[in-house]
């Protein structure tokens, strides 16, 4: 099962933003690989580079002030960072598509939702207006919107948040992309609707075999959806493993902190969990990261080594890596 060739591979991705305070390295050495039909979760607090990772894969990082410094994003072997802008327009929406956080603002208020779904199809498959609207109706049915034939002519303001997010999903999947990037797709929705959207994504994934990159700051959402998890902190991957592995034995102090932040509904919680905690402090400014581990100022286990040198990702187990000095020696990296 693991043998499938990676559909999407990111290697050594570096992205910088020029700001008034200096150059901020927003992504530093991001590596990821995604197989068809699997789901990769990316977690981290706000400002950790989750969304920028997604935008870089689609090459939608605003180019000044941003700059993709180094690395490769390979889709079925083709390096997208080297591709022409024209080629990228073909890729966007057809091979890789994206759904956004705010369903309230991610649909254009002046067009009917049918037109907006049909737009993707017209752009990539050159269908006529009529055929593309038929496809839009089909897609609305696929995302379980009742009375799709009537709804297709309605405008975004006539729909609820959950409905709009379904429309966004319909729009993103209309051309059957092989990769779907969901950037906090449920953050703006209430909890019951969140569950519905996740169920829908899972159902569509089973049907179409689309690989999903799910970006979230919610460990619960990740636990439910993802096969693998990547934890990001200040533009770096600090830990990566299969979802169960991470939830059962998180290694990096940051990951442990994130998991400890999630309240659990159990009558008798296991004693090692302790009280609900928070991670002290905030994500540091990316313009002055210094040479040490960027999590060191907030970490209980920080040593002088942590403050002076950034750790490499160390293999802590088969298929489980953590970038923390607790799991490697300065000499071995």
């Amino acid at each position: 099962m693991e043998a499938a060739a990676p559909l999407l591979e990111v290697e050594g991705l570096e992205v910088e933003f020029r700001t008034r305070q200096g150059v901020a390295r927003v992504l530093d050495g991001i590596e990821l690989s995604l197989e068809p039909g699997r789901t990769l979760g990316i977690v981290g607090e706000s400002g950790c580079g989750k969304s920028i990772t997604a935008l870089s894969i689609m090459r939608l990082v605003p180019v000044p002030p941003g700059r993709i410094g180094a690395g490769a994003v390979r889709l079925k072997g083709e390096d997208l960072l080297q591709a022409s802008e024209k080629r990228m327009r073909e890729v966007r929406g057809k091979d890789i598509s994206m759904i956004f956080q705010e369903p309230m603002t991610s649909l254009n208020p002046v067009y009917s939702i049918g037109d907006q779904i049909a737009e993707t199809v017209r752009l990539h498959e050159g269908l006529s207006r009529r055929d593309s609207l038929d496809r839009a109706i089909e897609m609305l049915k696929a995302v379980h919107i009742p009375a799709a034939e009537r709804r297709v002519r309605e405008f975004p303001h006539q729909m609820s948040g959950g409905m709009r997010q379904r429309v966004m999903i319909a729009m993103a999947l209309a051309c059957q992309p092989s990769v779907l990037i969901a950037d906090e797709p449920t953050t703006a929705l209430d909890v019951t609707v969140q569950a519905q959207v996740f169920d829908l994504l899972k159902e569509l994934q089973e049907k179409t075999g689309t690989a999903i990159i799910l970006i979230s700051h919610d460990m619960g959402a990740i636990a439910e959806m993802a096969d693998r998890v990547m934890v990001m902190y200040a533009g770096r991957i600090v830990e990566e493993a299969a979802t169960d592995e991470i939830l059962e034995s998180p290694r990096h102090p940051y990951t442990r902190g994130l998991i400890a932040c999630v309240p659990h509904m159990e009558e008798e919680p296991p004693p090692e969990r302790g009280a609900l905690t928070e991670i002290p402090g905030v994500v540091p400014a990316l313009t002055d990261l210094g040479s040490g581990c960027s999590f060191a100022p907030r970490c209980d286990h920080a040593t002088d080594l942590c403050r002076s040198r950034a750790p490499q990702p160390f293999a802590v187990d088969a298929d489980h890596r953590a970038a923390c000095w607790l799991y490697g020696e300065a000499g071995t990296a």
Partner: protein, 297 residues
Amino acid sequence: MTDRPATAPESGPETVRIERPVVEFLRMYVRNWAAVAGFIVFAAIVFAALFAPVILAVDPFEMVRMHFTPPGHDSYVLGTDNLGRDMLTAIVYGARATLVVGGSAAGLTIVIGLTIGSLAGYYRGWVDEVLMRITEFFQVLPPLLLAMVLVALFEPTLPTVAIAIGVVTWTGVARLARAEFMRIRELEFVKAARSIGSRDRRIIWRVILPNALPPLIVNAALTCGIAILFEAALSFLGLSDPNVMSWGKIIGDNRDYLLDAPWTVTIPGVAIFLTVLAVSLIGDGLNDAFNPRLRER
């Protein structure tokens, strides 16, 4: 090719009746009585201009009676001017020049302003810098003087006058369009449009522009009023086509006889005032109708 399932079956009776945007827009516009009055006045002026040769089949330049016949004398409702030409005919025919020049100058203003403003606001960076410096260059020149120079340099014909007015009034539209584009380009649906593979051209014209239109349409109406005033000012100064009757020209021709025959100057003045007022009221009404916050009161 699949068969299209016979145009969307209506599924059951609709419980909530949602008005089409156009209907709702009209309903909001009609609620503002001043805007309705403005529209009626403007429509009457347009009607008179359109059917001038039918209403009054006379040459407005023809001298028909003694000069300075006061209004109401014989059948000359509005009297005659300094050369004995019928004022009523002059006013009705003058509406044509006024509307044509006002309308096309406003149109030109929108085209130039929108193009410059949308490109500057969408691309930002050096494009924005260059275009905004050009805009500022035009902003600091005294508009009336620049328009006079342009008309004097070329032949004083209606197209020249319209272009000259367009060239001096587009800066406001450009700044407004730029601001709207800068705001809308950051909204998520623009990012979404990019993420499905739309190109810049499509994003500018099909995605952002329709969302930026309401303030621009209101502005277009107000610009039309300004253009009419400009046209009047230019023809008052004699910088308009001498072979075309216009309201400004009537005032200009008769300005020396203001005290002896006040009607020759006040009547075209009132015509200009009414037209500009009507256009402004329409602009106001459009503004209200576009503003969703005033709905359902």
